[in-house]
Symmetry: none
Subunit: 206 residues, 4 copies
Amino acid sequence: MSSETKTRRRRKAERPAEILDAAFEEFVQHGYSATRLEDVAARAGVTKGTVYFYFDAKERVFEEMVRHKSQTFLPDLAMQAEKAEGSYTERLQALVAYTYAHIAENRDSREVLRFLISEGGRFPELVDRHYDEFVMPMIDQFKQLIDAGVAAGEFRDAPASEFVEIIMSPGLLVCLWSLVFGTRKHFDLDAFTRASTDLILRGLAK
Amino acid sequence: MSSETKTRRRRKAERPAEILDAAFEEFVQHGYSATRLEDVAARAGVTKGTVYFYFDAKERVFEEMVRHKSQTFLPDLAMQAEKAEGSYTERLQALVAYTYAHIAENRDSREVLRFLISEGGRFPELVDRHYDEFVMPMIDQFKQLIDAGVAAGEFRDAPASEFVEIIMSPGLLVCLWSLVFGTRKHFDLDAFTRASTDLILRGLAK
Amino acid sequence: MSSETKTRRRRKAERPAEILDAAFEEFVQHGYSATRLEDVAARAGVTKGTVYFYFDAKERVFEEMVRHKSQTFLPDLAMQAEKAEGSYTERLQALVAYTYAHIAENRDSREVLRFLISEGGRFPELVDRHYDEFVMPMIDQFKQLIDAGVAAGEFRDAPASEFVEIIMSPGLLVCLWSLVFGTRKHFDLDAFTRASTDLILRGLAK
Amino acid sequence: MSSETKTRRRRKAERPAEILDAAFEEFVQHGYSATRLEDVAARAGVTKGTVYFYFDAKERVFEEMVRHKSQTFLPDLAMQAEKAEGSYTERLQALVAYTYAHIAENRDSREVLRFLISEGGRFPELVDRHYDEFVMPMIDQFKQLIDAGVAAGEFRDAPASEFVEIIMSPGLLVCLWSLVFGTRKHFDLDAFTRASTDLILRGLAK
DNA sequence: GATGAATGAGGCTTCATTCAT
DNA sequence: AATGAATGAAGCCTCATTCAT
């Protein structure tokens, strides 16, 4: 069935997501203030008016777009954590690799981070929401694993146990690198991940 | 020459910097697109026309402002590295502490990073310049120290030696934390620095 | 025929009037240009499309609404004039009181006057129609009574006989007062009517 | 000196009034909502931006325009009242004639009344201001004269003494007539004034 | 008959930029 | 050097109107 023959009702169900996807691209390219809603509309294959039929204002489009693109990878992370096997070292290694790959390679979450950095001041609820739904849960996930490793006597009780963010920081660096330098200065993610994991695990080892 | 004339001359000489300082504050608060040159002028105590006397266009004001606020801390870092004493472990510890403190607490460089992230696409030369004048030198500085430590047999030849960025990543995390959450979610920088340094040094140790 | 069908039919028959009533309220509150047909529809409990089913365009809704709300009180006035008894003075007194009460207290005709004043330029036919169907007949009604009173020797042949509008002007003033000041500056209509009638009758008396 | 050679400073002093005069014409022709600020600008010989240089928003233009056009005729009325001579009857006669002529023939105040009627709901301060600065003082002026006439035994103590608005109501009727019918249905103002004055004076006479 | 998704022209407002003074 | 009046392009948003369902 071609998209032209879709019923209006079906299209209505799909429109908002189409608009938000288009908005994502435009906001990524030009930033919040410099993107024109008309371009968003054109990219989504509708007209200005249609955007306003679904969203109150430009701010709302932005907020919903971030929400839309924040469909978190947390459930996946939890699943990875559960199905992880072997020593705590091996489990942590696996989880770190999984997380870095996500942070570094997932364009959506990378750009969401850019939005939080550049427009967070204008959209504080978005920031708070991100903290609650993304940052804290991820930290918790890692903290659990490390605490268990410490309890099992596999990791030493390093001060880093209280700042598991440290473990994620190399991943964030890659993400930031990508945000700032794009593809101009390339990065061997695999080697970097190996190096980071090596350093971290060695740093945690007893 | 009357003192009034002198004052006027002195003021004239300071004008551009005053304007750039004002621009910094406005750009920090509203982002590139959303700041009005008129507000910049008002904050600097001049009028729009004066801004245009010193700078061609809004883009130029932004670029010059970033340049102005990028007065790098590299010379300081080099000095610190030179006057550092003791084992390589101790030297690295000192340098890391110094760097984290700068990255985390220096508002100017923090906000410059925000500008690079949010407006880098619009100002690629700025990004390149930053890479050349800031990122690479800093990486080199650390790489030298670590290579020396390895050569001296104090550090193992970890894969991280090829990615000394890893060592700076916890500092960047604090910086990012501050950019996104401001002062809302506080952070014990000292404890975090100790934990990071501990992890890193342990990870590098033979 | 099920009662439901009947209800539907009945409702259908009432729809236009319901829409016009809703339109009246919205036009009163916001004026012609500033009222949105969507709000009219919502107030009438239908959707925009339905409004367009019954009326060609916004202008038509307005015109029909004014017509709908202009269901004149002239028949009532004529009846009052007919059943009036006593001297011409008493009859005029009664008719004046009746007219003032209507002009001053009937919200519909008051607001119709507002529409004529504010949108008359855009709807000249409405104005002409009002003149023919409302203004002239009312003037005639009064003129007849006064002429009869003059003929009967009860009133002097004052110049005002040629301008019976004068007699209605105090009523109009109350109406205007209400249009401009609403209920904020109150007005003792009864006392005002008595005062006006007293002045007029005395002015007409021989 | 041609208008082109006027200095910018001089022009700045004149611009606001020029814009407000232009705004008056446009608002009169189309009403508040339907006039485009761009047309106001064009009529004033400037561009949209200039209007916004002098006035915050369309609402402000309207308010200031009403204020500008409300330069009251009260001082003139007071002067007329002072220099009036003869019996109270003659003085009242003169004042009424003067007032009617103003109300009926002064286009500015007539249209201001139209604005109060059509847009008063949107600009309540304007209405209140008009009441304080225009309506009440005028009423007072007439009340003083009538009270004096009553005290002097020239007028009877009619109930109308408490509602001197009655005296102005014929003038208002002419004004309204003009607002609604424009020049289409003409009106012999002089004759009407004579008729009204005759009726009123006779009504007040002892 | 009725709905409501979609359109697109049009108006308000902002602001980078210019230039006469 | 500095001012600030003036411009005009551009963007946000509204809403009368249409039409497929």
